[in-house]
């Protein structure tokens, strides 16, 4: 699948930093999860990847970051390129060293390490102690709330603080591309807004390209430049967000808006109900 970025986009022309070409992922040698998934991320963008539960969004991220192997999954077809190099057979350590860092779903901070130690663990692939120290200060600038909790065990932080720590920990690796898996999961709306604001700042100020997987489509489309919609292991729709937000299907299925008084066949209604369940 070839994706061309429209020229009228506000941001300048960019280099493709990541591209997935027709990748296929199989779990346990039998379960086909991604069926010819393709996606392109350009440098400096925030790209949103939307879709229902089980569409394969998290699997896509794991395929990129290489942690699929630990879960009995593997990329069996297609290719993943990052800054011009094939990375689909690289181990997670190699991927992090190349500049891709995944913030996993469900926060996943190290419970019995304190905030500082979590950040140090995030900087594992870096060498300069001075830089690490400097970057810790940067993380505390983005997340001032963490400052006073530096010596608290991460397990005792609130959900929002844990999510901030998870993103801060990713920043510590100074990634070129950050993969965010559902940063809004289980957080109060105000907090979600705050965190998405910070994600946007990180994108602009640190020049970190972001690939964002979200169920909260409205929030994701509000900060993203480009959006992909995924169903059953492949991309079914992709467009700049301005266009996506105007797309009737997206409005109906992903943003919870529907046209009033429009006739629908029974099949559509059923389809709609089925899809409706996961809407926020």
């Amino acid at each position: 699948m070839e994706h061309t970025q429209p020229t009228e986009q506000v941001t300048e022309p960019k280099e493709p930093i990541l591209s997935l070409n027709n990748i296929e992922v199989i779990y346990d040698d039998v379960i086909l999860v991604l069926k010819g998934m393709s996606l392109v991320v350009y440098e400096g963008q925030i790209v949103a990847l939307l879709g229902a539960n089980g569409a394969g969004k998290s699997t896509t991220l794991k395929a990129i970051s290489g942690i699929l192997k630990g879960e009995e999954g593997k990329v069996t077809d297609g290719s993943i390129t990052f800054m011009g190099d094939r990375i689909d057979n690289t181990d997670p350590e190699g991927i992090v060293r190349r500049g891709i860092f995944q913030v996993m779903e469900g926060r996943r901070v190290f419970d019995d390490l304190n905030v500082d130690e979590n950040l140090i663990a995030g900087a594992h692939t870096r060498n300069s102690r001075a830089e690490i120290k400097q970057d810790m200060e940067m993380v505390f600038e983005y997340f001032p709330r963490l400052t006073e909790r530096r010596h608290t065990l991460a397990g005792y932080l609130s959900g929002g603080e844990q999510q901030m720590l998870a993103i801060g920990r990713a920043l510590m690796a100074r990634p070129k591309l950050m993969l965010l898996d559902e940063p809004s999961l289980g957080l109060a709306p105000l907090l979600v807004k705050e965190i998405f604001g910070i994600i946007q700042r990180i994108n602009r100020e640190e020049k970190t390209t972001i690939l964002l997987v979200e169920q909260n489509a409205r929030m994701a489309l509000s900060i993203a430049d480009y959006g992909y919609i995924m169903e059953n292991g492949k991309i079914v729709l992709d467009d700049p967000v301005e266009k996506l937000r105007e797309n009737e299907d997206v409005k109906e299925f992903y943003l919870g808006l529907s046209k009033v008084g429009e006739k629908k066949s029974y099949r559509d209604v059923k389809h709609y109900r089925r899809r409706k369940r996961w809407l926020s």
Partner: protein
């Protein structure tokens, strides 16, 4: 009054032996936390360490410090070999297979040692001053004091390593979640290897210290079994708990030996830790500091 001095003396000796248990337990818990492997060969690592050091000192007449360092180096190589060729291929296999393989490993190590050095008890050349120390009416061999200090030094060094070094933090991170650690580029394989190295090193130190007190023979590996009550008491997944558990088991073992031996005609010391083990499992199965696993049905 005499009673109190006797008690104190027992406690001091118990602390010394207990600190060694704590040290060996630290190694055991490290492996368990990092890779969920229950290492039944921990005692054999200890025995091998003691024999290697003994051989260096007596057969090859190496001075103690050189012999000591060479033993530690040998332990590291042994641990890396075991981890790489025995345990790594087992990653992802059922727990029971891994347990069986460590039991097999313990038998292999024991057979190697007895075929090379025989089964006779050997006296370790004294590495610490032997003269007893008197304080009040307590008479304790200096060996116990030095043993306690030596294991404390190692415990403190490792505590600092885990608290402040980046590798130490990475190891704790991997113990917390292998997968998340992997996602930040921490090599989990390397963490496994390092925990085996640390376990072998602390075991060798423990073997040398205990061998220095009790002499070296094949039954030294039984110390590995005494580590079980220590780690179960402390909580299988708590390093600090394991060390404390070691100290407590050491003291209780010595006290029960000191007070009960003349009722039962000796040997209580050998049994006491396991009686304690059974009691802990009945009243506090997760130990003092272990994580309680909550299962919802």
């Amino acid at each position: 009054m005499n009673e109190i001095w006797f008690l104190l003396q027992l406690i001091i000796q118990g602390l010394a032996i207990g600190s060694v248990y704590g040290l060996v337990a630290l190694g055991f818990v490290l492996i368990y936390k990092a890779s969920s492997v229950i290492n039944f060969a921990q005692g054999e690592l200890l025995m091998v360490g003691a024999y290697v050091c003994l051989a260096l000192l007596t057969t090859f007449n190496v001075p103690f410090w050189a012999g000591f360092l060479l033993t530690l180096a040998f332990s590291v190589v042994l641990a890396l070999t075991i981890e790489r060729f025995v345990l790594r291929p087992m990653i992802g296999e059922p727990v029971i297979s891994i347990i069986m393989i460590t039991i097999g490993l313990s038998l292999v190590l024991k057979s190697f040692v007895s075929s090379i050095w025989g089964v006779q008890i050997k006296v370790f050349p004294a590495i610490f001053p032997q003269a007893p120390i008197k304080a009040g009416q307590i008479v304790v061999s200096q060996v116990y004091i030095y043993t306690f200090l030596a294991s404390m030094v190692f415990l403190v060094v490792f505590a600092l390593f885990f608290k402040y070094s980046r590798l130490g933090i990475a190891m704790r991170a991997a113990a917390n979640s292998n997968q998340v650690a992997l996602s930040m580029g921490i090599s989990v394989k390397r963490v496994f290897a390092v925990s085996w190295c640390v376990a072998a090193v602390v075991s060798a130190v423990g073997g040398i210290l205990i061998g220095n007190i009790n002499g070296v023979n094949i039954t030294l590996s039984a110390v590995g079994l005494k580590v079980f009550p220590a780690v179960i008491l402390g909580g299988l997944d708590s390093v600090a708990g394991a060390v404390l558990g070691g100290l407590i088991i050491g003291i209780l073992e010595n006290l029960s030996g000191g007070y009960l031996d003349h009722f039962f005609g000796g040997g209580v010391k050998e049994v006491a830790p396991f009686v304690i083990l059974v009691i802990i499992l009945m009243i506090k199965p997760y130990g003092l500091f272990g994580t309680e696993e909550i299962e919802r049905v």
